[in-house]
Each structure stands twice: as C-alpha cells, then as structure tokens.
C-alpha cells in the first residue's frame, strides 16, 4: 500500500511538491516563531542577571526596572548617596553598582556609574561586560561607549564627545565646557548596555558643577583643572544594583530597604520584575504565534485542496483498484497514507528550513549584536508542534479520503472521469 501511495504521489510530483512546500514553509514559520519567542523571552529575562536587587526611589516596580535597566523613561525621584552608602555597607551586601541617569548624548542615555559596573554587572547566562577596545574610566572625563553607540555614531578611541543635559532629542543645553574623551568601547551584549554612554559618577558631578536647580549658571564656567581638584562625591543617584553574599537573604534585605526610614525606597527582584514586564509586552508574541498557526492552517487547507482536486482525475484509478479487490476502506487508507506522506515530507523539510534559518539568525545576532542564543537542538516543544501538525494533516487528509471512499462506493466499476 505504501509503495502505491508513494508512486501515485511521484506520478503527480509537481502538485505534491507544491503541497509539501506549503506545509514546509508553514512548519518552518511556526517553529521559528516559537523558537524566537522563547529565545526573546530568555534574552529579555536575562537582560540583567546576577543582580539580586535593584533599588531606587519609591515608585512602581516596572518603572524602576524600565529606567534603571532599559534606560526607558525617567525616575520620578532620586535616592540619596547617604542611603546608597548605608545599603552598600550592610553585612549581607557583597557589591553595589550606583546608577546616575539624566543626561544624554545624541539620543543615547548617559549613565554615571563606577568601576563596579564593569566588574559585577552580568547579563545573559552570567556573562560579564568586556571591552572590545580601550580601557574603563582612567580619567574624570573618560567615557566608555556601548557597542551600538560606537558603531552608529562611528566613534573611535580618543574622540571627544559633548553630552547634553536632559534626555530629550532637541533643544537641549549641552555640557560643552567639559568635553569627554572616548576611552573604551564595550563588546556587543544584545542588551540596553549597547545603547548606553558610560561615564564615572564623578564625571556626572563634574559636568554639573556650574548648574543649579537644573539651569546652567551664567558666566565663563569652572575650568576642568579646577574641577579635578574638587570633591565630586555625588549627593544623590538615580538607582543602584545590589549583589548579595547569599541569595537566601534577598527577601530580608528587600524588606529592610522597602521599610527604610530615612527616605521612601523601593527594592525589586529584577528577574521577577522582568517577568512581569514580559507578561505585559508578551501579547505580541501570542499574536505572532496565532498568525503562524493560521499559516499552518492555510498549509493544511492547501493539502486538502490538492488532494480533492486530484480526486476527479483519479476516479479511474479508484475503479481499477476496486476491480482488483480493494475495498472502499482500502481507498480511504490509501488517500490518508498519501496525505500523511505529504505532511511528513513537509514537516521534515520545514524542520530543516527552520534549523537553517535559526542557525543563520543565530550567527547574525551573535556577530552583530553579541546575543548569545541558546543551543538549537530539537526540543520537546518543537517535537510536540510537529506531532500536532502531523495529526492536523492526518485529520485534514481524511476529508478527501472520505470523499474518495464515498465516490468509490457510488461509482461501482464505472470508470467515470
């Protein structure tokens, strides 16, 4: 029976190939969308890793996450340096990274931080930031660029940049008295770090020496040499990242910070907040998956259409098989076998296409954005999807098979065409 089904399909190879192609495309699409969806979730959730708590002035968890990790939006309030120091000195705390935001450079956010950022910040699967060129802040006016900033603005080591006060896109006052020099360029991370201009906390203070209440004081301004001799310890920062000695203490420290008496603070677990944020934006992934499912459905409908349209010209074939002793049930099974063979070929071809696409995308993401996609061995989820599509194809194939069954009963041995 299998050889008859196979040779019958070979005889109609052009239409069969089209049906296989339609299924392959839809299978590749849904598998790739599913993979990208899962990878995107993983990459998103791992935008920051190894950080136990993110602390800022009291607002919403998602808002704190957005401005501290994604550099989106602004803090409603700052936290004092005093509080930051006290938290850093807690015995449970292993390290802290201060984050000071508010300035920008040609559309990219400027982040004031310290050496701890380059030592302790982790993303992806425990990956550390690394420099593709230069060094981390050596001088007060040194700047370290994220990979995208350097690439898009075509900056190289030694270039001078002037940062702007505020984060809008036009009409910003610039800190043109204190130009920075590009000292280092980070390797791609596939995270918001790539779109960040990093300066030291002291650098942030330095460019604001001549500013009072958000306005630049009129006059010639303080010279860089004078500024270098000044005490540039910040009075406040925007947020801070906290790493603990043991993760077991995270809820205790979180509670202590949330109940901090000196000022209203908020400590969040970044993994939890990232998950919450993903759940908010994750509607798009569901929509994408739904569209892919519709494409698979279209592939299966095409399969039905190909088999149904072939039935008319195959009535002779059915009559010959019946005359040789084939039962209507055999005709039904033969048609089901054909649709299953087509679907199997489509699924295998779709899987191969999906793997090739993923390898290609993976290579591009890795070289261009440094995104470390997980390994792409076939997983349970892909296998289940393939089985679901195969079952769908078998059910779809039963429709023309049933038609052939009825037809072979009705035709008898008349060789209708």
């Amino acid at each position: 029976m299998l050889d008859i089904a196979w040779q019958s399909l070979r005889n109609r190879w052009s239409t069969a190939l089209l049906a296989v192609f339609a299924i392959a495309i839809s299978v590749a699409l849904i598998l790739t969308v599913d993979q990208v969806r899962r990878d995107a979730r993983t990459a998103f959730v791992q935008t920051v890793s190894g950080t136990d708590l993110v602390v800022g002035a009291r607002s919403g968890a998602v808002q704190l996450l957005l401005y501290s990790v994604f550099r989106i939006g602004n803090a409603t309030n700052n936290m004092s340096w005093q509080s930051a120091t006290e938290i850093a000195e807690r015995r449970e705390v292993a390290w802290t990274i201060p984050l000071s935001l508010g300035d920008s450079y040609r559309g990219y956010r400027v982040l004031g931080t310290n050496q701890g950022y380059f030592t302790h910040y982790r993303f992806g699967r425990d990956r550390q930031l690394s420099l593709s060129d230069g060094v981390v802040f050596d001088d007060l006016f040194d700047v370290v660029l994220g990979s995208e900033v350097a690439r898009e603005l075509e900056h190289k080591l030694g270039d001078q940049i002037i940062i702007a006060h505020g984060t809008g896109s036009v009409g910003l006052a610039t800190h043109d008295n204190q130009p920075f020099k590009v000292a280092g360029i980070l390797a791609p991370t596939g995270t918001p770090v790539d779109r960040t201009v990093h300066v030291s906390l002291e650098g942030i203070e330095a460019v604001h020496v001549d500013w009072r209440n958000g306005m630049q004081v009129q006059g010639e301004g303080t010279s860089a040499d004078v500024i270098r001799d000044m005490d540039l310890e910040p009075s406040e920062i925007t947020a801070m990242m906290v790493g603990l000695k043991t993760r077991g203490t995270v809820f205790r420290v979180q509670r202590a910070i949330n109940n901090y008496r000196a000022e209203p603070l908020l400590a969040i677990l970044p993994g939890v907040a990232l998950q919450q944020l993903w759940d908010l934006v994750g509607v798009a992934e569901t929509a994408l998956l739904a569209v892919s499912a519709v494409v698979v459905l279209a592939g299966l409908i095409n399969l039905i259409s190909v088999l149904l349209s072939s039935l008319a010209e195959r009535r002779r074939e059915m009559a010959i098989l019946r005359s040789a002793g084939a039962s209507p049930g055999t005709i039904f099974r033969l048609l089901c076998l054909e649709s299953t063979l087509l679907a199997l070929a489509g699924i295998v071809a779709g899987f191969v296409l999906h793997q090739l696409t993923i390898q290609l995308v993976s290579a591009i993401l890795s070289t261009r954005f440094g995104m470390d996609l997980p390994s792409h061995l076939p997983g349970v989820s892909e296998l289940l999807l393939c089985i679901a599509i195969l079952v769908g194809a078998i059910i779809a194939g039963a429709i023309p098979a049933w038609r052939a069954y009825r037809q072979s009963l009705a035709d008898g041995m008349a060789q209708r065409t």
């Binding site: 029976m1 050889d3 008859i4 040779q7 019958s8 070979r10 005889n11 002779r316 074939e317 009559a319 010959i320 098989l321 019946r322 005359s323 040789a324 002793g325 084939a326 039962s327 209507p328 049930g329 055999t330 009963l409 009705a410 008898g412 041995m413 008349a414 060789q415």
Partner: protein, 252 residues
C-alpha cells in the same frame, strides 16, 4: 443456433441472479431489473447491449462492487448478500479477474506491479500464482509471454509507456493471475483495430481455456458474438417481465 431459457440447476451455475433490481440514486427508473440470469461454469458468455443499457452496472453487481436493491446474486455458490464490507471485496479479489474497455492500468505502477495488483488483495490468488510458476514474477513473465508480450523488456517498464494493445494484454494478464474462476471483460476490444482485436481475442480465449475460467464478455459489437459459447442480449434480459422470456440465450 437455438434459444433456451436458463432453467439449469443452481449448483451448476457460476453466476446466478434471481429477481435482481438496482437503481442509481438519481435515476428515475431502475437501471437493472432482471428476473433470472445464469451462467454455467466454464462457459464463454457474450453479453451484448448498446450504450446506456446497464452493462457496466450489471458487471458491478456481479463483481460485488455494488449491492442490488432487491434480489439474490450468487457467484460460485456464494450468496453475495451474506458477505459484508471488506469480505465482499476479498471475495471479488479471490474469484474474479476484470478487464476494462481502456485505461486498465495504474499508470504510475510498472507492468509487473499492475499484473500482480489482485495478489495484494487475495492471498489465495497470490499462493496459486506462486504455485503455478514458483514465484510471482515468474508467473507474471509466463502470462506476459503467453499473451505475446516481451516480458523481459516490459516487466519493469511503467504501464503508461505501453501501447493501447499492449496495455489491454497486460490487463488480461492481471485478470488471469492466480486463476480466478470468473473473468469479466467490459468492452475490452472497443479501443483496438480489427487485426489487434482478433489477435487479442484469440489470446484471451486460449488463456481462459488453459485456466478453465468462465468468461463474461460485454460488448456492443455484434460481430464478436458467434465466437462465444453463449450470447445474451441485455435489453431483452433487463426489461423482461414474464417467466421464460426473461433472457435470450444462444448456444453455438
């Protein structure tokens, strides 16, 4: 030639139809309405009828492809109404070989695969075919050679590459493989020219005689009738209402 009615004992009949009626779903009147029709074992029977007289429908009834609305059809002593579903199809595979007018073969299968097609559905015929020549392929070769076909050259050729005459002979080989007791031929010569037709009939008769099968041969070509043991006129048979006039049978 003499006319006689079929009054022979049911035990001697290979085909026996009693008060059989059949209507296609959309047809206003019955296509088949036969009071009695019998064919004795080992006979070569010519069934004549113009187009639309129900020849193919009668053959479908005899071949157990469609069941009658009323009446009894017995083949080789088996009442077909006692067979249900796949058993009817198995019965057909075991007992009958069928040759159509044209387009007899599955075009995508080889000659050998076409000839052995009934052996896929009938283990009895497969075993007989193997017993006859030692193997299925050897029996296919023997049949093809007996039907004047170059077995060595054609065996694995796709059926669609054969001429119409060659295809008809391959169809006969398929009908004969495994020696079924009944061979049904539905206008098998109408697509052939006169010379090819005569040669085809000669080969068909020779092989039918060799296997001892009965032949029910349907055609509208009156010129062929005299070569058969019995001749039937389907319009007469089909519309007959009174006993004794339900069929016309001519012995040579």
């Amino acid at each position: 030639m003499r006319q006689e009615t079929q009054e022979t004992s049911p035990t001697a009949a290979l085909i026996n139809l009693e008060r059989v009626r059949f209507s296609w779903t959309a047809a206003p009147s019955p296509t088949i309405d036969i009071k009695q029709f019998r064919v004795e074992a080992g006979k070569r029977v010519f069934l004549r009828g113009p187009s639309g007289s129900g020849k193919t429908t009668l053959l479908s009834l005899v071949a157990a492809v469609i069941p009658p609305d009323k009446g009894v059809i017995e083949i080789a002593g088996t009442d077909l109404s006692t067979l249900q579903g796949a058993a009817r199809d198995r019965f057909r595979a075991d007992h009958m070989g069928i040759v159509f007018q044209q387009f007899n073969l599955l075009p995508f299968l080889s000659v050998a695969q076409n000839v052995t097609l009934p052996c896929r559905f009938s283990s009895a015929r497969r075993q007989r075919a193997q017993a006859d020549s030692g193997s299925l392929e050897a029996e296919v070769c023997r049949l093809l050679l007996a039907l004047k076909l170059d077995a060595g050259a054609l065996l694995h050729r796709p059926a669609m590459s054969l001429s119409v005459g060659q295809q008809q002979r391959v169809a006969v080989a398929r009908a004969l493989i495994g020696r079924p007791p009944l061979v049904i031929a539905d206008e098998p010569t109408s697509a052939l020219d006169t010379d090819t037709r005569d040669a085809f009939l000669e080969l068909l008769f020779k092989e039918i005689d060799a296997t001892g099968a009965s032949l029910l041969f349907v055609s509208h070509d009156k010129g062929l009738a005299e070569r058969f043991d019995q001749q039937l006129d389907l319009p007469t048979l089909n519309r007959a209402e009174t006993p004794g006039a339900d069929m016309t049978l001519q012995d040579r």
